[in-house]
């Protein structure tokens, strides 16, 4: 059918018309080949504007539409929909960007008008060669995979499971709970962390729609939005989950002690252990690197004592394959290790501890029973808390870790509650941005904690005066007073940065998502799409996307749950039609296209010896088209014909 093109020039108020002579562009467009009608209007994206297009399609029999207005990222979907509503295939539409590319980059009227004409001519020549394309729809599997069982993963899993859709919750530690389970009280309300977390943990453990896979890791994933296939490795616990009653006798009697990860290294656990008493599931795990049976073949005390006969040294890892429609990553953060900051003395001087170590110390179920003590067991009389250790520092992490100001204040409050010690905090700026946060700062100030504005230069045990003998000395500038000072204290708490997990790189590659410059997972858009990623169907929530407090984590988790539920509710996903297509008659099976594809969207068919594009994964980037030696790949909606025509039209 002979192309009949309608051209619409938008004024966009004065954004375009203020610089471009729209009337002249209309006149110019009217003179182009195959153009049946050319109009201009103040706001093409408005309802009357769209109605102009729809009316012309019906009455004038238009079968191609060009709108010269803003960027396609703004309104291409709008106009495509308008065409569709008038019965025209949406891919028979083309946009010319005469705003961002034209009226917004120059003040010269003549230049702008000439460029607008060239852009319109290019669009008109191109749209001539457009073909109708159909978007495909794929069904969405209603199951969801949540990776990571901290508060973020728990919240997301519960929200989805409560809608009576199945969730697989995978956690690599023996229990869910994450870092939140390690905390004592949470700011600013001083809620006991375990008290608000454990009910949710129990809910997860007994939820009919959540399949909890702890001590497990994702090994492999394939597929695309709505249709992921995931292999999960359930590591052997060496304890039969069906038989174990959670009585805890094995743990109590096991003779082999190990540094506990949960206690941040300041307490011990056994070789057979649950990480903490409220663990979900409450089934122990045998640590084969420290269990004497696995090291030397002896002991087996737990096996002898277990009345339920649940110890099974022969247990093997199990690999499970699940099918899900969406994946939520909630893998959390790791705490910065301050050892490289030599001048702060961590691990070199006694009584210099990190924030997590202090959380466990002040927690009543921690290794010191909630008593704040020095290495020699005595109670400190003075404690210094240092902010920004490893944060806001071009040598370690440039970013601010967001929560340390608040938890440092919380520490001060808890110290005053538990002891008679004096507390001082060393900060550069106070970040108390959230609800109730500034009020909490005020409270802590009034309790008598002293705040010094100055980043400490060093912590040393070399005394220069008698008062400093036997103490840790913080040397710093009190910047508000303008003096270099030395403050002797008994204990120093380093509020360390939150950093990405050490294997964030491997996880990102496994799930095919990107990371931002700071190493955390990259969201699709920092403001308008903070939980989605560029890989459709995969979401990131919580601290694995960036440091944040519990309220923001929970909000993000609920947000991701909502997006997943929207997909499940609709039941289907549209696949973009502008994807690559391989002509199997020409393809020689060299697989260069598969090599260059950044989205892993090309598969090789062993039987036929040709490559095939997975349209659901393909983003239409064009790399394969450029790479193919035989010209066997072409890109829908970006054919050579269309592009050459566009270029010819530009050179008007």
């Amino acid at each position: 059918m002979e192309p009949r093109i309608g051209v619409y020039i938008c004024h966009c108020g004065s954004n375009i018309a203020g610089t471009v002579d729209t009337e002249e562009v209309v006149r110019f467009a009217q003179g182009l080949d195959s153009v049946v009608v050319a109009r201009d209007y103040k706001f093409m994206c408005s309802e009357p504007g769209q109605n102009l297009i729809k009316a012309d399609i019906t009455e004038l029999g238009l079968n191609r539409v060009v709108v010269a207005s803003c960027s396609p990222t703004m309104h291409e979907p709008t106009f495509r929909r308008a065409c569709q509503e008038a019965g025209l295939n949406p891919y028979l539409f083309e946009m010319a960007n005469i705003r961002e590319h034209c009226s917004w980059v120059t003040e010269d009227r003549a230049e702008a008008t000439e460029k607008a004409k060239a852009l319109v001519s290019a669009a008109v020549k191109r749209v001539y060669y457009h073909q109708p394309l159909e978007t495909r729809e794929v069904p969405v599997n209603p199951n969801t995979l949540v990776v990571g069982g901290g508060i973020a993963g728990i919240q997301a899993a519960l929200k989805i499971a409560d809608s009576e859709h199945k969730v697989y919750l995978v956690e690599r530690d023996p229990s869910i709970g994450g870092h939140m389970a390690q905390l004592d009280k949470t700011f600013p309300t001083l809620d006991c962390s375990a008290c608000i977390l454990t009910p949710k943990m129990t809910q997860v453990g007994s939820h009919p729609y959540i399949e909890l896979l702890t001590y497990s890791e994702v090994e492999e994933i394939s597929g695309y939005i709505g249709n992921f296939k995931v292999k999960v490795r359930k590591k052997a616990r060496y304890v039969d989950e069906a038989r174990c009653t959670g009585c805890g006798l094995c743990q109590t009697k096991c003779p082999w002690k190990v540094d506990s990860e949960f206690e941040a290294g300041i307490g011990k656990r056994k070789a057979i252990y649950t990480p903490f008493p409220q663990a979900v599931p409450n089934i122990p795990v045998i640590d084969t690197e420290h269990c004497v049976y696995f090291l030397k073949g002896t002991c087996r005390l737990c096996e002898k004592l277990c009345e339920a006969e649940a110890i099974d040294f022969e247990q093997q890892d199990k690999v499970i394959e699940v099918e899900v429609g969406s994946i939520i990553l909630a893998t959390g953060f790791s705490l910065f290790d301050p050892t490289p900051i030599y001048q702060y003395g961590y691990k070199r001087l006694d009584n210099v501890i990190t924030s997590l170590e202090f959380e466990r110390m002040v927690n009543s179920s921690g290794p010191t029973g909630g008593n704040i003590v020095l290495k020699d067991g005595s109670e400190p009389e003075s404690i210094a808390i240092i902010h920004c250790v490893g944060s806001r520092d071009e040598k370690y992490h440039e970013y601010c870790s967001r929560v340390c100001c608040m938890h440092s204040m919380k520490f001060a409050h808890l110290i005053k509650e538990h002891t008679d010690a004096e507390v001082c905090e060393f900060y550069i700026d106070i970040r108390s941005f959230g609800k109730g946060y500034e009020e909490f700062y005020n409270r802590v100030l009034n309790e008598g904690t002293i705040f010094f504005r100055g980043r400490p230069a060093e912590i040393t045990n070399i005394a220069e005066t008698p008062e400093e003998e036997g103490k840790l000395v913080v040397q710093f500038e009190d910047t508000l007073v303008g003096l270099q000072r030395r403050l002797p204290v008994d204990m120093v708490i380093l509020s360390c940065a939150l950093e990405p997990q050490p294997d964030a790189d491997a996880i990102a590659r496994l799930f095919n998502i990107s990371r931002s410059a700071d190493g955390f997972f990259l969201e699709k858009h920092p403001k308008l799409d903070p939980v989605a990623t560029m890989t459709d169907g995969i979401f990131v929530v919580g601290c694995c996307q960036g440091p944040k407090d519990i309220p923001d984590t929970v909000a993000q988790a609920s947000a991701a749950a909502a997006e997943v539920l929207a997909m499940i509710s609709k039941g289907r996903v549209e696949i973009e039609a502008a994807t690559a297509v391989i002509d199997e008659r020409i393809c020689s099976g060299c697989q260069v296209c598969k090599l260059v594809c950044p989205y892993s969207a090309i598969d090789f068919d062993e039987e036929k010896g040709v490559c095939r594009v997975n349209e659901a994964l393909c983003k239409g980037c064009g790399a394969c088209i450029a790479a193919c030696f035989s010209d066997a790949v072409s890109l829908n909606h970006f054919t050579n014909e269309q592009i050459v025509a566009e270029m010819e039209g530009m050179l008007v």
Binding site: E394, G454, P456, F476, E477
Partner: protein, 187 residues
């Protein structure tokens, strides 16, 4: 155009020197002052100097003795979380102060540096004895008496010669410096 009552012209002037280029990045955390072994002697410690520069306090900064106490130990620059190099800044300020004729009270270091440089210009290398002589004459002749025992010790241990060693490249150096002055004056 002149804005802020002309206050930011000094910070821009300092930022244009070879040592002051990072001065905009300072967040006033104070780790430089905290690390500085000479902070107690300075009229204004390093962090405060930067704050004063940003406040446009040109005269106070350039006539202060602060930068002259810099030992070039570089602890500040190595610890700064923003990549500011207070050592380099200090030397750039010394250069500015010296070039613009500011006379500093409360430190003899400018006199010592002048003797050092004059020794280089005269010999191509530093002649310690000659430099010390000139320094004490410039700064405080009486204090030279206290240094006699040390000077004698050094001389007897053959650590210090009374006669300068004229370096081979001395003439070349003088001509190069002269030419450089002309080149800089041109711009």
């Amino acid at each position: 155009m002149v804005v802020f009552g002309g206050m930011n012209s000094f910070v821009n002037e300092v930022a244009a020197t070879l040592g002051g280029e990072h001065i905009y990045a300072c967040i006033q955390c104070g780790i430089c002052t905290g690390s500085c072994p000479a902070a107690s002697e300075m009229e204004y410690p390093p962090r405060k100097i930067i704050a004063m520069i940003r406040a446009g306090m040109r005269d106070e900064v350039l006539s202060s003795n602060s930068m002259w106490y810099c030992l070039s130990c570089h602890l500040c620059g190595c610890r700064c979380p923003r990549g500011v190099k207070p050592t380099e800044l200090a030397h750039a300020l010394e250069s500015l102060a010296n070039q613009q004729g500011f006379r500093v009270k409360g430190t003899r270091t400018p006199a010592m540096y002048r003797s050092f440089v004059s020794s280089i210009k005269g010999n191509g290398r530093v002649h310690e004895f000659g430099m010390m002589l000139k320094f004490y004459l410039l700064a405080n002749p009486l204090s030279a008496v206290k240094m006699l025992p040390l000077g004698l010790k050094l001389f007897l241990h053959r650590r210090m010669s009374l006669i300068p060693e004229r370096a081979k490249g001395k003439e070349d150096l003088s001509r190069i410096i002269q030419k450089f002055r002309e080149v800089i004056a041109r711009q």
